[in-house]
């Protein structure tokens, strides 16, 4: 197991470097550069101003020099400096990472928990009313665009009913501390986490249901039934456990999105996370920051892939891990 993990980590570093180089070229292939964007925003500029900015950003260097400077600094675990925001990239990212992790992890737990539960319940009631309703709701959430759901949720729960705050991470200027602050953040978290979780909840529900129905037809389940086990025990111990493998695969995918997957939700709910940071960096051509976010999210994806593979083995010990 240890050898497996260390081998995978080594591979991950190589992949990470390849991703960094690839991203570097992709970003520089986009039209416009940060100097042009900043000059544009200033409403007025002259050649000296543009030259000044380009020198400050290192954009006057040939591309291969810029690439070398960047990759070598990443290897030293230095993600560079964001000239636009005038802060080190690492600091910008670590400032925003907690907000995104809280949001995405909550969405992850909500969707996985409720999704598997709903799917299991629906499969147990196959063909009955409950099954139909769960399948229908899952289909709707699966098919509806996230931002629309988000706006509707704000209109209903925030504007109409006034139950929950419609945007932000916490109440600005309220000065809460300790438990009250946590509670305040929790209230702000509910709407974005629910909306972000709905899509994957629907996917998990549909997948769990289908997978459980399939496993339920297998011989060992028939044997269990013949032994006279109670249906609840059969569903839990025999069917669900075996049906979970595809769900774990998918959960690994969703976990990989923990960092970068919430751009839309973070925008609609003004959630100060990494997704928005990435989007802003993209539209402002803030190269160092954008590459930094990419590196961090790629590292997360690789990490979660590794965790998923380890989890496979825990869920089903028959699966062998090898590097």
């Amino acid at each position: 197991m240890l050898r497996f993990i260390s081998g995978r980590l080594l591979k991950a570093v190589v992949i990470l470097i390849c991703i960094t180089v690839l991203n570097f070229f992709l970003i520089h292939a986009a039209p416009g550069d940060p100097a042009a964007v900043m000059a544009g925003e200033a409403g007025d500029s002259d050649a000296a101003f543009l030259q000044q900015l380009r020198e400050r950003f290192g954009l006057d260097q040939p591309l291969y020099v810029q690439l070398w400077v960047y990759v070598s600094s990443v290897l030293r675990l230095d993600l560079g400096y964001s000239y636009r925001q005038q802060l080190p990239v690492l600091q910008l990212i670590t400032d925003r990472l907690p907000a995104t992790l809280i949001l995405s992890l909550s969405a992850f737990i909500i969707s996985l928990g409720l999704g598997v539960l709903a799917g299991a319940f629906a499969s147990a009631r196959q063909g009955k009313w409950a099954d139909t309703i769960i399948s229908l709701v899952a289909l709707v959430f699966y098919a509806t665009p996230l931002f629309w759901l988000a706006l509707m949720a704000v209109l209903l729960f925030s504007v109409e009913l006034g139950w929950l705050p419609g945007f932000g991470y916490e109440t600005v200027g309220a000065g809460y501390t300790g438990i009250w602050r946590a509670l305040d953040i929790f209230k702000h978290l509910i709407l974005p986490a629910m909306t972000l979780g709905l899509f994957f909840m629907a996917v998990y529900a549909r997948m769990t249901r289908a997978s459980m129905l399939e496993v339920g037809r297998l011989d060992f389940v028939k044997t269990a039934k013949a032994k006279g086990l109670r249906p609840g025990v059969i569903q839990r111990r025999h069917v669900l456990r075996n049906a979970l493998l595809p769900v774990v695969t998918l959960a690994g995918l969703q976990a990989g999105q923990l960092v970068g997957g919430a751009v839309l939700i973070e925008t609609v709910f003004a959630w100060p996370g990494i997704g928005r940071l990435m989007f802003d960096a993209l539209s402002q051509r803030d190269y160092n920051l954008l590459l930094g976010v990419f590196v961090v999210s790629a590292a997360m994806v690789l990490l979660f892939n590794l965790i998923t593979d380890v989890l496979y083995r825990l869920v089903d010990p028959r699966i062998k891990v090898s590097s």
Binding site: A30, P31, G32, D33, A36, V37, M38, A39, G40, E41, A42, G43, D44, S45, D46, A47, A48, F49, L50, R56, Y83, R84, Q85, Q86, L87, L92, D95, R96, A99, L151, V154, L155, S158, V159, G162, P165, G166, F167, G168, Y169, V172, G173, E266, T267, V268, F269, A270, P272, G273, R276, L277, D280, S283, Q284, R285
Partner: protein, 515 residues
């Protein structure tokens, strides 16, 4: 006489409103959109940065809605009869936010050193200045090379924010840590910036005007989605939506909410004017009759009434009507598709399609591009819309890679500062997304503008600018659209929210909340 009487009555009323009833205390939530890269406005000069930074940094003067100079850091000033020497006397008791006194040495450092290196607008203004000196701690003297009457309107926080010498001298200005925690002389002090969430300013208790500012705290909230910003105002989480914070189609709905006030004031200094850049280098845009045909084809009243909800004004020519020296001169171009068609027929236009670049600033601009496409299509000019993001738009216009492109530019208080830059031959520079991007070159007009800039006194300038406006309106180097109106939407409990020609960035000094 009656006019004078009512004017002084009005003055008395506003004065009494400001001094007799203003109550101290309270906090205000505003929107800043998009989140600025920095609020050190000596370096970063975009709109959002100014909105916040204008409360922290001040300049020598501010301007009323008619662009008449008013005291700010300078309490008084004199201009010599030959128009060459400007002498400013600074306010007493002005302190930087770290407690150091502000003196003429700071002004000298800012205008001679810091801003010349960091700020293109200031750099342009200083080309007219021979020297700046300080005979004593409280006096600053600008000596001009030639009379430049516009100079007195170029001294706002927007062009010439005074920055602290003791913080910046001898450092790398661009990376000085004080850029993150700005230190100015303004009515509000920087408290905290939670990136992605809000910028928090607090009252400066040592402000040199006793009793001001009235408000204790300002929160500038960052809400990236336009629909969410409307909701935030609707919910009462935000008290003030600065102009341009919400999509235009949301304005009528928000305006009808109880306790909601709007004003179009506070944009007189910037006086944003929108137009279509017509790439004068390329046929058929190199033909003046083709350009005139475009002017006749555009239904600008429709754009104002439908796309901009009636805000703004149809532009008559290169100058906004809010600007000094503006005059309504002929020819102006009313919507007349028949005339446009006749002109196109006259020049034998072959129906070659044109590429149109909309501005990537939200829904209204997208819709406007579609309306223009339809207007031009109606007279037989086929148009393809090519959308880009902001970075791509800057690159394409800067490299002249377009046929027609939307834009709007600030007029900056005087035609010699904010208008002639778009039409003079000397301003053509590849790689720059501003000024003479259309590639128009007319030596006669260059001469007119050059003379008008330095003519003295103002009456002489008026004649020359009348002539320049006439010439440009005949030549149509760009197709003028609207003097844009960006209404500020706010909760009616907030008083004196706009008190200068630059609006919100400066007015928080005077704003207060009715209990």
């Amino acid at each position: 006489m009656r006019r004078l009487l009512s004017a002084s009555l009005a003055l008395f009323l506003t004065a009494s409103a400001a001094f007799a009833q203003a109550v101290p205390g309270g906090k205000l939530n505003l929107i800043v959109q998009p989140e600025p890269p920095s609020i050190m406005i000596g370096i970063t000069t975009n709109g959002p940065a100014l909105l916040v930074g204008g409360n922290i940094y001040e300049s020598l003067l501010r301007y009323d809605e008619n662009l008449k100079p008013e005291p700010s850091l300078a309490k008084s000033w004199t201009i010599s009869d030959d128009g060459l020497t400007y002498t400013f006397t600074l306010q007493d008791g002005v302190k930087w936010h770290d407690g150091q006194p502000m003196t003429s040495a700071d002004v000298l450092f800012s205008v001679n050193d810091f801003l010349v290196k960091m700020q293109p607008r200031h750099r342009n203004l200083m080309t007219h200045v021979e020297s700046v000196t300080a005979p004593d701690d409280k006096t600053v003297v600008f000596k001009l090379k030639e009379p430049f009457e516009a100079f007195i309107r170029g001294l706002s926080f927007y062009t010439m924010p005074i920055v602290p010498k003791h913080i910046y001298e001898g450092t790398d200005y661009a990376t000085n840590p004080a850029n993150e925690k700005p230190i100015g002389t303004g009515p509000f002090k920087f408290a905290e910036w939670k990136k992605g969430s809000y910028i928090h300013l607090v009252k400066n208790p040592d402000y040199y005007i006793k009793g001001k500012p009235y408000l204790d705290e300002l929160y500038y909230q960052v809400i990236p989605d336009a629909a969410s910003r409307s909701v935030a105002f609707e919910n009462g989480n935000v008290d003030v939506l600065p102009g341009g914070s919400v999509e235009n189609f949301d304005i009528p709905r928000l305006k009808d909410l109880p306790n909601t006030c709007t004003t179009e004031k506070g944009w007189e200094y910037f006086a944003p004017l929108s137009w279509l850049w017509l790439n004068n280098r390329k046929p058929p845009m190199d033909n003046v009759k083709f350009r005139q045909a475009i002017m006749y084809a555009l239904d600008r009243d429709f754009a104002r009434d439908v796309l901009w909800n009636g805000y703004g004004k149809v532009a008559t020519g290169p100058m906004s009507s809010k600007l000094p020296f503006y005059k309504n001169v002929e020819p102006t171009y009313a919507h007349d598709p028949a005339k446009a068609k006749a002109l196109l027929k006259e020049i034998g236009y072959d129906g070659k399609p044109l590429k149109l670049l909309p501005l990537p600033y939200g829904e209204t601009w997208q819709r406007w591009a579609e309306a223009v496409k339809q207007n031009l299509g109606d007279v037989g000019i086929p148009v393809e819309i090519e959308s880009t993001d902001v970075a791509g738009w800057n690159q394409r216009t800067a490299n002249w890679d377009y046929d027609i492109a939307f834009t709007y530019l600030y007029q900056n208080g005087d035609p010699a500062i904010g208008v002639d830059r778009n039409y003079k031959t000397s301003q053509i520079a590849k790689g720059n997304p501003f000024n003479n991007v259309e590639g128009y070159s007319n030596p006669e007009l260059d001469k007119l503008f050059d003379q008008a800039a330095v003519a003295y006194p103002a009456a002489k300038r008026q004649e020359l600018y009348d002539q320049a406006q006439k010439t440009l309106q005949q030549d149509v180097p760009v197709a003028w659209l609207l003097e844009l109106g960006f209404p500020t939407i706010y909760n009616c409990k907030v008083q004196d929210i706009v008190t200068t020609a630059s609006g919100l960035p400066e007015s928080m000094r005077d704003a207060w909340i009715k209990k």
